[in-house]
């Protein structure tokens, strides 16, 4: 068989597709990223904030999109669709149709003149029709690629050639191409990743919600847009009927989820409880009056993720009302208000008036995607999500095709990102022989040494068509620039970023022997990399460069004051020149990589991580504190899908033990760690030293045993009281004694969601219900009672809950104010608990009582986190670099986490996270060196007092005290260049390269020089 193709197709440009593409492109594969719409970003780009951190969605997403858009090894195919996939793993042929954009992306500068002049307004689908856009449009302000597109259905010209065509007339760069036609192409790839996402459920059919009948009943996605600063009401939160600010908002949960009657969606959409709380919290923040009353109507509150329960608690403290009730009827009231009629738990009908009702709609698969999957012969499950198995959570039914994100089950962003990396691990692992075979690499000429030269500054002033020139007198600015000290060349360009100007700029740098360059044009955030690359091509260091933002921050915002805008442009150029004068060439820092991984913990997470890396040819040292492999999973009977753990585990252990790339260090712990990404040195308890480039922490967690205290429930006192894992032991041993039981009871949330452990253990509801079903299998006549607080069978697990009810398992809800009472009556267990529906106390006599006890962090995680300089949550779980977008990375580069030490999770999620950690680790291990920040802090030891304030404010532990000299030193490999240390230092002993105090002051002083 030939070597596989070293490229991968990723279908879907949402967060999971983008993450998968970035992981692959950064670990040696060429990626084609296909996106149906005109810009990548997916559903996440439509969100206002994200839970539980309340991060601005666009803010955290944008850098990833920009990275994907610019990546040399990602071929972005927007407005494109997959038609067909042929072949198998390693060798696939994909047919793609690229629909016309009618705008030449090479030429479009996204100035927006076209849209301004376009006479055709249509509902903006990005705002779910709440606002309008033009027929030529940008999907959203931060769109990647930042290029306009023509909507062929709306465009007047395309429908009636000869009419309109204004856009073409006004486009300053001649980018409009009405003759654009669909193209078909065939790509050869080694593997495919489907990241097709979801669509929000359309509640139009649920007439009782009043949606579409009442303007002030909106879906949650519509509400996101109403909250978003870039949405139709620019973040002012106006209700649709009269643009007034709502003072009373109600959220209705489970609209289109957990409903087999009207919505035909038996699954739970997993994310709605959290996003509703988030919206309630954010709406309160948005509220100008400050007395917004938010009410959430729900059946089970599902805050099962990391930090979610605390978020829920906080929301309650902040006065968000949570009503355990479902509203049947939404009635119209005065002033377009709405009355919700609901029954409380006591069975009383209550009418309550609201100004706005938000339907927390679920997630479903787009019918077009369903069709595509059918065409591609990808197996779907009963809910039309892509079918996967618990032990290979990102593999589809078709070899070589992987899946990630909400297309395989409704899930939140971190889970999607995790799976994206896992899918990248799957695809990359399969193609590892072909790594770096199809990637491109940029070569640059050697750089001229400019140290001894006096500054020779070139200034390029861009007109940006008329974007700048129509407001700012660019000639005046150019002439002014020419006279500034150090400037030897100044020129005005129509489009400085156009390919010909770029080429000419490189020539000018060489010819004029420029050693500093200033471009006065748009924003460095999008264009700095392009110009910096030009400097490199012209043979000078890319850090000898500054930009003056005279478009986004000048001509566009001061259109009414052209003279003042011109003055400002001069100031900005002068500031940039002053700054660039002090710029010095900086090294392109790299850290050489020791191509070996250290994996700590040999449970399922650790073994999967280790194997995923070892099977790609990377040596792994797998350290386990016990003398035996398998960890927690040894005690675990089966997954909720009914797959027996033992079979999988034995197979996994065999593969680990027989893999020559894995060094097993059993009965061993970590003593000491030094170094940073690419070059860690770790000392093991057995005295061995391991040099490794990356580390994966997968040390697991423990099961809480309520031997005493309020959650004891006779545990350890009556032999028939077990924890979940103890009952699993009896299943594993085929304990005959279980068959004869007449009655069994489970108590949920034992030690979870309580003051001393205020988080949800995520797995116990599903695990307990599966066990109850297993007991029913053993004896269908057994009466089984589940005493729960909220059933949290998120996603497809909801089917299990339904099955349990179907089989007659009785669920009785309790809360912290009404705990079940358990006592021993002469060796027999008696439970009394109030059934809140009928308002009576129910007395049970179970012969078996199972406690769904918490998953708690291991006590020794703290020491490990200190060794690796990783943070921990208050609960004692390890804390990832970013809850949303970096779910398996630590803030410390080169260290990753997987499994229960991160947060309680079921085995399929553990495996996905372990694969994700391997993918992230492979991004480092696949390289000889990893790039490090060039703009880093630097200590002047002569000035340093050793007070260590710099080390304390550094979030990356990049500044440390040299024990010998007593002075601070910077590890440039770890420094991110934020400058927190510089600002904290009283002695001016630490500075940031090219962003030192002197340079910033030069810019400030230059700004004030003339006025």
């Amino acid at each position: 068989m030939d070597r596989p193709k070293g490229s991968v197709l990723v279908v879907g440009g949402g967060i999971s597709g983008v993450q998968a593409a970035l992981d692959l492109a950064d670990s040696g594969f060429f990626v084609h990223l296909v996106e149906k719409s005109s810009a990548i970003g997916g559903s996440m780009s439509q969100l206002d904030k994200t839970f539980p951190t309340n991060d601005c969605s666009a803010c955290i997403l944008s850098p990833k999109l920009v990275e994907a858009g610019r990546h040399l090894n990602i071929n972005l195919l927007t407005l494109s669709e997959v038609l067909d996939i042929q072949g198998g793993p390693g060798h696939m042929k994909v047919r793609i149709r690229k629909n016309p954009r009618y705008v030449d992306t090479e030429k479009c500068i996204a100035c927006g003149t076209c849209a301004e002049k376009c006479p055709k307004k249509v509902p903006n689908e990005f705002d779910l029709g709440l606002g309008t856009r033009k027929a030529i449009y940008l999907r959203y302000p931060q769109a990647v690629p930042l290029k306009y597109a023509i909507d062929p259905e709306a465009c007047i010209y395309l429908n009636k050639p000869g009419r309109c065509g204004f856009c073409k007339k006004v486009c300053p760069s001649g980018a409009i191409n009405f003759d654009d036609r669909p193209e078909e192409m065939t790509l050869e790839v080694g593997s495919v990743i489907l990241a097709l996402g979801f669509r929000p459920y359309d509640p139009s059919a649920l007439d009782f919600t009043g949606y579409k009948n009442f303007k002030n009943v909106v879906t949650s996605m519509e509400f996101e847009r109403l909250l978003s600063p870039s949405g139709p009401c620019m973040g002012h939160m106006e209700r649709p009927s009269d643009k007034s600010e709502p003072q009373r908002i109600a959220w209705l949960q489970c609209v289109g989820s957990r409903d087999i009657n009207r919505a035909c969606h038996g699954y739970c959409s997993s994310v709605c409880c959290m996003y509703a709380i988030k919206q309630a919290v954010i709406a309160k923040e948005h509220s100008k009056s400050g007395n917004l009353q938010s009410s959430i109507f729900f059946m089970d509150m599902r805050t099962h993720g990391k930090g979610f329960e605390a978020y829920y608690d906080r929301a309650r403290e902040e006065g968000i009302r949570f009503k355990r009730a479902r509203v049947h009827t939404v009635l119209p009231a005065k002033d377009d208000n709405l009355v919700l009629r609901y029954s409380n738990e006591a069975g009383e009908l209550i009418d309550e008036e609201f100004d706005l009702v938000v339907l927390s709609v679920g997630l479903e698969t787009d019918p077009e995607v369903i069709r595509l999957c059918h065409d591609l012969d990808i197996e779907l499950d009963q809910d039309n999500f892509v079918a996967t198995s618990p032990f290979s959570p990102v593999a589809t039914s078709k070899p070589g095709i992987f899946v990630c994100g909400a297309i395989s089950e409704p899930k939140d962003i971190p889970q999607s990102v995790m799976e994206a990396s896992a899918a990248a691990c799957g695809a990359g692992g399969m193609l590892h022989e072909a790594r770096w075979t199809q990637t491109k690499k940029k070569e640059f000429p050697p750089e001229r040494n400019v140290y001894s030269e006096p500054p020779r500054i070139g200034v390029f002033v861009c007109s940006c068509g008329i974007n700048i020139a129509s407001v700012v007198d660019v000639n005046e600015v150019t002439e002014y620039a020419r006279k500034l000290p150090g400037v030897v060349f100044a020129q005005n360009n129509l489009f400085t970023c156009s390919q010909d100007t770029i080429n000419q700029m490189a020539e000018t740098i060489k010819k004029e022997r420029l050693n500093r360059v200033v471009v006065a044009s748009c924003t460095p955030r999008t264009h700095e990399p392009l110009f910096q690359e030009t400097l490199r091509e012209a043979g000078i260091n890319k850090f000898l460069f500054e930009m003056a933002n005279i478009r986004d921050q000048d001509s566009w915002v001061h259109q009414k004051w052209p003279e003042k805008a011109t003055e400002k442009a001069k100031d900005l150029v002068r500031m940039a020149v002053a700054k660039v004068r002090g710029d010095e060439p900086l090294p392109y820092n790299h850290v050489p990589v020791t191509k070996k991984a250290l994996v700590i913990g040999a449970g399922v997470a650790g073994m999967v991580s280790a194997l995923s890396l070892a099977e790609q040819g990377f040596p792994v040292c797998l350290v386990e504190r016990k003398e035996i492999l398998g960890g927690h999973a040894r005690k675990f009977y089966r997954t909720w899908h009914g797959r027996v753990m033992k079979e999988y585990l034995e197979e996994l252990i065999k593969r680990v033990e027989s893999n020559p790339n894995i060094d097993l260090e059993l009965g061993t712990t970590i003593e000491d760690v030094s170094g940073s990404v690419g070059r860690f040195k770790t000392t093991l308890s057995n005295g061995k030293n391991v040099e490794h480039g990356v580390a994966i922490v997968a040390v697991g967690a423990e099961s809480f045993k309520p031997r005493s205290g309020p959650w004891n429930y006779l545990y350890g006192k009556n032999p028939n009281v077990h924890t979940l894992l103890e009952l699993d032991q009896r299943f594993i041993k085929d304990d005959e004694g279980l068959k004869g039981l007449k009655q069994a009871a489970f108590i949920h949330c034992v030690g979870s969601r309580v003051p001393e452990r205020p988080y949800c253990s995520r797995v116990c509801c599903t695990h307990a219900i599966d066990q109850a079903l297993k007991l029913k299998e053993l004896n269908p006549d057994m009466d089984i009672f589940m005493l729960y607080r909220d059933i949290r069978t998120y996603g497809k697990r909801e089917h299990l809950y339904q099955e349990a009810r179907e089989k007659g398992i009785v669920f009785i809800r309790y809360d912290l104010e009404h705990l079940p009472e358990v006592w021993d009556d002469d060796g027999k267990i008696v439970i009394e608990v109030e059934d809140q529906i009928i308002g009576k106390r129910v007395r049970l006599h179970p012969e078996l009582l199972v406690l769904a006890s918490a998953v708690r962090p291991r006590d020794d995680v703290g020491e490990l986190s200190k060794l690796f300089k990783c943070a921990m949550t208050e609960e004692g779980f390890l804390l990832e670099a970013h809850m949303k977008l970096r779910p398996v990375d630590f803030a410390t580069d080169g260290v990753y986490l997987a499994g229960l030490c991160h947060y309680p999770k079921p085995v399929e999620e553990t495996i996905a996270q372990a694969q994700a950690a391997a993918s992230r680790a492979a991004m480092v291990l696949s390289r000889d060196s990893v790039p490090a920040e060039s703009i880093t802090a630097e200590v002047n030891p002569m000035k340093c007092t050793g007070c260590a304030v710099c080390t304390k404010v550094c979030a990356y532990h990049a500044v440390v005290m040299d024990g010998k000299t007593g002075k601070a030193v910077v590890d440039t490999g770890m420094c991110k260049g934020c400058g927190a240390c510089v600002a904290a230092c009283r002695s001016d002993a630490i500075t940031l390269k090219n962003l030192g105090n002197e340079q910033i002051m030069a810019a400030v002083e230059a700004a004030m020089e003339s006025w």
Binding site: P941, G946, K952, T965, R986, D988, E998
Partner: protein, 347 residues
């Protein structure tokens, strides 16, 4: 019957003697009688003989912590700034510390300026030190030839006059408003601890300034610093000002002009005070040594008050609580942030 201070002096001598004799310390830092009547000056005892010269009175106004890092370094073999210190245990220094000095030492420990292992702290609960300006005022501006201290009064003699004044009346402002007169850390204790004091209006002087209008405050500030001769005595006496190159002396970048222009003087005082933010323990040395009588303590006192209000922090009480500017809390006040103010206004 000897006075409290005399007893303290005696005990200091005794402890110093014992420490020096036993070679537990190489040097002992304390106070000795100065030449001017009533004046005390910092003094390093190197042997038992020197120890006899150690003394104590209500005139020990300079914070001894300032000399500690230098003394400790003097006991190390000479080395270049970035050269490592020698291996092995180094000689120790004994030092007398009142409440504020000891708190200062805590900050110094937190900032790696002194090694706790190398200092033997002799704690002296402070009864307050005399403000020489107040003293002088109390006798008009007449020349003082001798001062005799009693526990609660001072007998002042000059050419042709003799006056007994209440001791507390001439105690420095910082001592009068001090709430932690007891040493926070010490290895030996002289006298007995008096406990924290409750002074509800301890920031009264700051509050009085705060109550002024903006222009009045500006005028006060300008007037206060107008007499500054940029001698930097305040900086030099401050144990927290230990930078090898002070920002005022820096030329790249030049934060502050070298001239006597009022703007530069203002910037000097602003930055000096700000550099002490969250660190200053209000020992009052700066004010005590200012030849021009500038009340620069008010600047640092303001920052001290704000640190307490904003971050619930007082420096020097516990080496394990990080200094306020080296840490943060997610719930730190931000009512001064424009976008937050606007949000508040709308509500």
């Amino acid at each position: 019957m000897s006075t409290v201070n005399e007893k303290i002096a005696g005990q200091i001598q005794q402890i110093a003697t014992q420490l020096l004799e036993s070679k537990e310390v190489a040097l002992f830092l304390g106070y000795t009688q100065g030449t001017v009547p009533g004046a005390m000056q910092p003094f390093v005892a190197r042997d038992v003989e020197d120890a006899k010269r150690l003394s104590w009175s209500s005139f020990c106004v300079v914070n001894l912590a300032n000399y500690l890092p230098g003394l400790l370094r003097s006991l190390e073999p000479p080395r270049r700034p970035n050269e490592p210190p020698p291996e092995g245990p180094l000689p120790k220094v004994g030092v007398v510390a009142t409440g504020c000095w000891s708190r200062n030492m805590v900050v110094q420990i937190q900032e790696n300026q002194i090694d706790r292992e190398r200092v033997v702290i002799v704690g002296v609960p402070s009864r307050g030190m005399v403000d020489r300006r107040k003293l002088q005022e109390s006798v008009g501006q007449r020349e003082i030839t001798s001062i005799q201290e009693d526990d609660n009064s001072l007998l002042i003699r000059g050419n042709g006059f003799e006056k007994v004044i209440n001791r507390w009346d001439v105690i420095r402002d910082n001592c009068q408003t001090c709430v932690h007169p007891d040493p926070v850390i010490y290895d030996r204790l002289v006298g007995s601890l008096s406990g924290d004091r409750n002074i509800p209006d301890r920031f009264r002087q700051v509050e009085e300034i705060e109550a002024l209008s903006v222009e009045e405050r500006w005028n006060w500030f300008q007037e206060e610093i107008s007499s500054c001769i940029r001698c930097y005595a305040c900086r030099n006496v401050c144990p927290l000002c230990y930078c090898p190159t002070c920002f005022v002396d820096d030329s790249r970048p030049q934060w502050v002009g070298k001239s006597k222009e009022q703007v530069d003087t203002a910037l000097f005082h602003i930055v000096r005070a700000y550099h002490c933010a969250g660190r200053c323990t209000d020992c009052g040395s700066c004010e005590s040594v200012c030849p021009m009588g500038i009340k620069m303590r008010l600047f640092t006192r303001k920052l001290q008050k704000d640190c307490l209000e904003l971050f619930d922090f007082e420096p020097g009480l516990d080496p394990d609580i990080p200094l306020p500017l080296t840490t943060y809390s997610t719930s730190d006040p931000e009512d001064f942030i424009l976008t937050q103010i606007r949000k508040g206004d709308e509500k």
